[in-house]
């Protein structure tokens, strides 16, 4: 007989987390990390209790966008540091910024380890910044986290749109709750065009790059304004009234 106590621990550690939203895409560079961080910050500023988990182990970037990563402390597990109001967990807390080369089996194992000791406490939302693709990170979180919600990010590029739609269709076939597709880096002029299939569009905004690492500046960009509309559409679609927790 072999029993793995970590899986039971994960359930308990996430027991008071109301919703887990993973930000995914087939493609990299479409803005998953920028959107995850901004989405989390906006929810937090609206008074929700929010956690942010960076599961892009090979390429963690949420801490770069936040401008700091904090340091976890220990108390019957790992207490995530508060970074700009978010409870934040990232591989950088353990990798010391070194490059991480891991195969899929170890990636899945790392995710189980991290979630089995992270004390999130009570959260309204845990936002998960995912790596591109549909590998161990996505499959393991689907397996591990009952009720996981997925927000998919696409761009107007030929290389993104169709592939993301197929990925979303497959996730739905598998019974995963897809809260919507967000189209990022839309040319500012074409923002107005309605599209039934997308939860929201986010403009290409040349100020974004400059605002990386500076949270207040980031939240004042057109980009953040558009993410705010996505947050509202998300809350509306999920029947969460504004300000009510």
């Amino acid at each position: 007989m072999e029993l793995d106590p970590r899986r039971v621990a994960v359930r308990k550690m996430l027991g008071r987390v109301k919703r887990v939203v993973s930000v995914v895409s087939t493609k990299g560079g479409v803005g998953k990390s920028m959107i995850s961080v901004t989405f989390a910050l906006i929810l937090s500023r609206r008074g929700y209790r929010v956690g942010l988990l960076d599961l892009d182990l090979h390429n963690p970037s949420a801490h770069v966008i936040l401008g700091e990563c904090g340091a976890p402390s220990e108390d019957r597990g790992i207490l995530p540091p508060e970074v700009h109001g978010l409870k934040f967990v990232s591989i950088v807390h353990f990798s010391d910024g070194r490059p991480v080369f891991l195969r899929g089996g170890e990636i899945s194992d790392t995710i189980v380890e991290l979630l089995s000791v992270s004390q999130w406490g009570s959260l309204d939302f845990l936002i998960v910044d995912m790596p591109p693709g549909s590998g161990d990170e996505l499959l393991e979180t689907i397996k591990l986290l009952q009720g996981l919600e997925v927000l998919a990010v696409s761009t107007p590029s030929k290389l993104a749109r169709e592939a993301v739609e197929k990925m979303v269709a497959m996730l739905e076939e598998m019974g995963v709750r897809v809260v919507g597709v967000v189209e990022n880096m839309v040319p500012p002029g074409s923002l107005g065009e309605r599209d039934e299939r997308v939860l929201g569009k986010i403009r290409f905004d040349g100020r974004v790059e400059e605002a990386i690492g500076k949270v207040e500046e980031l939240l004042s960009t057109d980009f953040a304004m558009d993410v705010e509309r996505v947050v509202e559409a998300y809350l509306r679609a999920s029947n969460i009234r504004r300000g009510v927790k």
Binding site: M1, E2, P5, K12, R76, F94, S95, V117
Partner: protein
Amino acid sequence: MHEWAVAEGVVDTLLELGKKERAKRIVRVKLRVGELRQIERDLFEFALRELAKGTIAEGMGVEVEVERSVMCCRVCGFKWSFDEVKEKLGEEENEAIHFLPDILPVYVKCPGCGSVDFEVSEGRGVVIWSVEMEK
């Protein structure tokens, strides 16, 4: 120390198992804890006993065995164990491995060929090895 979190996972798993098997009492448990975790054994055993109080596992016998690690390189096949490399690691590095054993290749390379592509085939996990119950 996060020994408490690990202990909590173990006790919860035991209680789930006890419930499923309709046990009256959990009498004894044997655990294997991977060497990479560098767990504080006394603290861990204390935590297990404390957490068991007031449950069907109260007073259970606890045996914790530390499983020696075996790393196996996927490139050159070389095998080694953690104690051969531990001394070269700093305190913070050991602390990171203590929390996240899978992170080992971030700090250690295969002594045979320098690759980070190796498997920890033993000595990483926490395994409930055997449970004695009273039904």
